[in-house]
């Protein structure tokens, strides 16, 4: 099939599935893209393709800046906002011949777990053709649904605490969050800079790899981008014989974090998890229970740190230089007046306001020591937990902290765990305004994804189908057939992105039993 034909099919799907609300700004029928694809087809015919992405439609989450399409972050405050520049990732993709397939829907500024907190309305997940739409996961729900319903070849999302992996799990797609610093964040609208990571969604791991290979490079404009020196140091470390032999000449040591086997875990999820482990064992790999004791603290720490950074990052939206502004005087005159209160009050949605308040509180002089500082300490503990179980060293740590004294027998190459504790809930349940515990519940969805975010580790969510009998009772509000794929997460040591993707490939498309 020609690239042009493939793109036209995607475009047709964008129209057909427009009710799913995956896009805030879809591809327009008329546009430069048509010529781009014709040229790409020509290049392909003459063997001069620019890259494996030449002529592919890639959807971009709407918190990543594009010059040609608005970048709204699903927020009222950036309604109709055109960024004066392209994000590095957009520029890099276009240079590789890829075409922006539109801007996908999300939770406002990336804050949410179901892609419902959007000024453009919730994203709908029509998976398994239920009469009732399910949650698409968040915050990159639009990107995940666009991929799942063939509205694009692949999509970019952002993952701060699971925002790529959770939607991938809920929509049966592959969602990859690389190591922090691998992909440039220049032009990615910050939610929580120290956690924000550009992630990739695709129907197959091979697609993810194609996109990742293009984007995985240093960018001067992003001060947190891994330097060329660090990159080559990391590359040569993982190319050392003891590490390059993994999978190639020796079986894997697969870790199972016991803290992830929580009581709330849906039986269907546990079932697929166990089957996957059994499958790997059959292949000759070994399974090892490991302990990550700080896991329980990770979620609360995340919900202190991310809102703290968010409250700071979102202070720039005052309506003065760009974005929308409330009518009339917003100077805070008068006894009850606060500067910008009207603009910000009207521009931000409920969840964003909630997190700004949370963050402003935890950074305030009286609370700083008890919340922000404590949470930073927990973050170090989470990192140390991972470093303790991985066979590979954390290449970011000084070489002197060598792990000589550690028992290598107890360490593992990768961790495998569920991406989310349950299957996607029904959207109607989430939109029920009478449910006051809703946002707290939503925070719980991130319990398995947050630790890897806090440690900056590479993690991929792979859809894995499980067959066979499921022991235990099935939850009443989640109706899942036995063939429904469940998202399993593979977590690796920092910089070990390649191994994470390889293990993902081993699990995908395998009928496990």
């Amino acid at each position: 099939m020609s690239l042009l034909r493939e793109a036209e099919r995607c475009l047709a799907n964008q129209k057909a599935y427009s009710s799913l609300n995956a896009f805030i700004t879809p591809l327009q029928h008329s546009g430069l893209w048509w010529e781009c694809l014709r040229d790409a087809d020509h290049r392909r015919e003459t063997g001069k393709s620019r890259s494996l992405l030449d002529g592919r439609l890639i959807a971009i989450k709407d918190n990543i800046c594009t010059k040609s399409l608005p970048t709204t972050c699903a927020s009222g405050i950036l309604h109709g906002f055109f960024s004066p520049f392209n994000a590095t990732v957009v520029e890099t993709l276009e240079n590789a011949g890829a075409v922006v397939a539109g801007k996908t829907n999300l939770d406002e500024f990336g804050m949410g777990s179901h892609s419902t907190y959007s000024r453009s309305g919730p994203v709908k997940n029509s998976r398994w053709d239920r009469d009732e739409p399910l949650s698409a996961g968040g915050s990159s729900g639009g990107s995940a649904v666009a991929v799942a319903t063939n509205q694009c070849y692949a999509a970019l999302g952002t993952d701060t605490g699971g925002s790529v992996r959770l939607p991938a799990a809920y929509t049966g797609t592959v969602g990859f969050k690389p190591s922090y610093g691998r992909i440039s964040r220049w032009g990615v609208v910050a939610y929580a800079n120290s956690l924000d990571t550009v992630g990739i969604l695709g129907r197959k791991t091979s697609v993810i790899r194609n996109v990742f290979d293009i984007l995985n490079q240093h960018d001067d404009r992003d001060p947190t981008s891994l330097s060329p020196r660090s990159r080559s140091r990391i590359a040569s470390y993982f190319a050392s014989p003891s590490l390059s032999s993994r999978l190639a000449s020796r079986p894997l040591r697969v870790g199972v974090p016991i803290e992830y086997n929580i009581a709330e875990l849906a039986p269907s999820v546990r079932h697929v998890w166990l089957n996957a482990l059994a499958h790997l064992e059959e292949q000759g790999h070994t399974i090892h229970p490991v302990s990550l004791p700080a896991t329980k603290l990770a979620l609360p720490a995340y919900y202190v740190l991310a809102p703290a950074e968010a409250s700071s990052n979102l202070a720039k939206y005052d309506g003065v230089r760009y974005g929308t502004r409330a009518e009339g005087n917003d100077s805070g005159d008068g006894p009850d007046g606060y500067l910008y209160a009207k603009t910000r009050g009207q521009g931000f949605g409920a969840e964003v306001k909630r997190r700004i308040l949370l963050g402003a509180f935890s950074l305030s002089a009286g609370a700083m020591d008890n919340y922000f500082i404590q949470a930073q300490k927990v973050r170090h503990l989470v990192q140390a937990d991972f470093d303790a179980v991985f066979d590979a060293q954390n290449p970011l740590l000084p070489a002197s902290s060598s792990q000589e004294g550690r028992k290598k027998t107890s360490t593992v190459d990768v961790l495998i765990a569920p991406t989310a504790p349950s299957m996607p809930p029904r959207l109607s349940l989430l939109m029920d305004k009478t449910n006051s515990l809703l946002s707290l519940d939503a925070y719980l969805n991130d319990v398995f994804t947050v630790p890897a975010s806090l440690a900056g580790l590479p993690a991929v969510s792979i859809p894995v189908c499980g067959t066979g009998a499921i022991s235990g009772q099935r939850e009443s509000d989640i109706e899942v057939s036995e063939v429904d794929p469940v998202g399993l997460q593979i977590i690796g040591q920092f910089g070990d992105d390649e191994l994470v993707l390889k293990v993902g490939e081993m699990l995908e498309n395998n009928k496990l039993h």
Binding site: T71, S312, L339
Partner: protein, 599 residues
Amino acid sequence: MLRPWLLRTTGGARPRIWFHNPQLRLFTPWKATRLPLLPTPQQARQTSSVVHNETIVPLRKQLKEEAKISRAQKRRGDGKAAQTDGWELTVGIEIHAQLNAESKLFSKAPTSINDVPNSNVALFDLAFPGSQPQFQIATLLPALRAAIALHCEIQPVSRFDRKHYFYHDQPAGYQLTQYYEPFAKNGHVDLYDYDGIVPEDGKKVRVEIRQVQLEQDTAKSQEYPPSSQLLDFNRVSHPLIEIITMPQIHSPTTAAVCVKKIQAILQSAGAVTTGMELGGLRADVNVSVRRRNEVPGLYQYHGMTGLGQRTEIKNLSSIKAIEDAIIAEKARQITVLENGGTVEGETRGWTIGSIDTYKLRGKEGEVDYRYMPDPDLGPLIIDDALISTIGKQLPALPDELVDLLVGPKYCLSIEDAKPLIELDDGARLEYYWDVVDVLNCLHPVTDEGPRISAGKIAGNWVLHELGGLLTKADLPWDSQRVPAQALAEIIDQLWQKHITGPTAKLVLAMVFEGDRRPIKQLLEDENLFLQPLSREEYIVLAREAMAKNPQMVLQIRESKQLRKLGWFVGQMMRMGEKGRIEAQRAEEILKEIILDHSG
């Protein structure tokens, strides 16, 4: 970095550099105190670390007003002065100085003072979504020069923090600064008697510097009545340093001297471009008082214990304002305490032209800046080798310069050395070096003698003769007005007795007025070279003068009033051909004739 889209008015990214803000009043204390928690424009204006009162008062006008106020203060202050006996004042200072850097702190946009508004602005400077800071390493160099000149310990690792507050001159909603881990700590500045400290401070006081931190400047905003503010983001993120002293100063004058001295040190280190007059340097002072010979106060600041409750006066923009504000605040606190009240820990303001400080906000209105380490910026790691290289390249500091100038090489008096160093941001001293250099070339030294006078004579001409012309003409310093080469040649001609002193002054005035002929040609054209009179001609002239004033001659002869010879020298100069009479020779001849006669 002109960004064309900044000027465009269509599209979603339309920049709005104006916004409605009716009746934004500067410095309205009564209002600010009523508002809790969040900064109003007025409050925020006072809280940003470099807040700029945009209307720059011309210096002349400011001086006039300050003189008026000081007269007023004297009138009413006599009683108060007596009252302050028995009280000890303690002052600490925070100084914000714009660094001499080519780019902004976190973008490649150039720094500028007078460019077209909003012409030097990068995406990050405007806090565009998705933009990130890029620390410009070169901006560290002037900061390091400043910190080394202030004898600080440079920290191998320092970090940037975000200081949050809303105000329209602060696009990101926070200022990047170094709150938790500044790049320099534990420095000091020495103040000497010749710097102008009060006699009670003795010959020398050392004021310790707690820390020096790097931070961003804010945008410039200008009121546009009735209801708009114009914003110029050229200045946003201009690199600044904040210098925080320990509370170790006990007199308003010494506080002013301290700021003046730090300013001179920064300037001589090449760390800053402009001084206070142009808004390149601003100070906040914290002031407390306690009774002498009584139990120590309850408060401690930066480890200094036993102090009284302090207040902070924000945003002082001249040396005079610092001194006056401290005097006023000291008097206010003493009055409060003597009337049985307590001093509140609060932030106060000072306006040029007033006689009292005024309350900006109390503790309850204190802004919580919610300091947070910046998650985008990594630690700043400064290598020892860099510190020692910069240390070696640092030009001589004011104290070293004073020593040099009053030393045997230049032989200047302290009274001449100080202004030479301080005038015109060091430009006068540069000029002085040039003149001395040229003089030494023109007149190669064989022994120590001539060089010593080169330094001294050049000092006299640069400061007093040239300075006098500038004062008379009311002109600012311009090193090209009389090129150093020309002045040196004039001095050299005088020195070699090719011209007389009055001729030298005349020629200087001609060059000052724009005569650009080479000095030698000018002297030739105007026939100003000294054509020495013969002994006979001197005698004729002397007799002529004596004949006109026989009584004076008698007086000299009879009562040996040799001092009156000078009067005759003057007569001879006047009577003789212009520029040909050498005073010394005239006096010799007069002495000879008048006294010989008597003998």
